[in-house]
């Protein structure tokens, strides 16, 4: 079982790496678009998966594995700190606020949507 989670996490990590490099190549903004997009979409999908109350194996592979490995808390905080250090505090507050508030709201919405579909 534990290897399924690991394989999912490996896949999630590759996806995060590819999405991040692709977005950074396209646009060089100070706003960390890639991580925000990854974290918000991942939070919504995990909420939905939980709401669907799927079988345990699927939840472990897709939820704990892929989505857990796809989204990242450490990169977000390092980016917030980076914005503060380059004296872009307004951006830091907006980035942190959007991530946390919208992330939790989307997760909540995902659970409700999952419950309805189920």
């Amino acid at each position: 079982m534990i290897y399924f989670v690991g394989l999912g996490a490996a896949l999630g990590s590759i996806l995060r790496y590819l999405v991040t490099t692709a977005i950074k190549k396209k646009s060089q903004t100070i706003w960390p678009t890639a991580t925000l997009l990854i974290n918000l979409s991942g939070s919504f999908l995990l909420g939905m998966l939980y709401g669907l109350a799927t079988i345990k194996v699927a939840y472990l592979i897709i939820g704990v594995g892929i989505l857990g490995g796809f989204t990242t808390f450490s990169t977000m905080n390092t980016e917030i700190l980076g914005l503060v250090r380059s004296r872009k505090c307004i951006y830091a507050w907006w980035y942190a606020g959007t991530s946390y508030l919208v992330g939790i709201a989307l997760s909540f919405l995902g659970v409700i949507l999952g419950n309805i579909i189920k």
């Binding site: 490996a10 490995g69 796809f70 450490s74 990169t75 905080n77 991530s99």
Partner: protein
Amino acid sequence: MNFKNIISVAFFGFIGGILRYLLGVWFDFNGTIIVNILGCFLLAFLTYFLLESETPASWITLGLGTGLIGSFTTFSSFCLDTVKITEIHAHTYLLIYLIISVVGGYLSTFFGMKLGRLSGRNIKRGNRM
């Protein structure tokens, strides 16, 4: 982007995911707090250590940062945890969970950066001597 980088991210991401899973099994919601706080410290340390010591980025550091620590920490579980804790009406715990994650996450990133810069500078000085 090359093949070596992707393999490195996948291999270390595999390990990071398993470690996160085990901590989640042992500590439940607190497992998410532990991985996120610890991961924030480690990633900031690594990032600023490499920057300060002027170590060139390689497939190993990419694997450790993006793969291992990126996969170890999780934002989606953090969000879902807050929804689950709200569902069971554990309001005091919810407040504690949020404060430790949000404030603690930032503070551990800050201290990771401080220690990373300090170590990076020392390594660089050591290499020159």
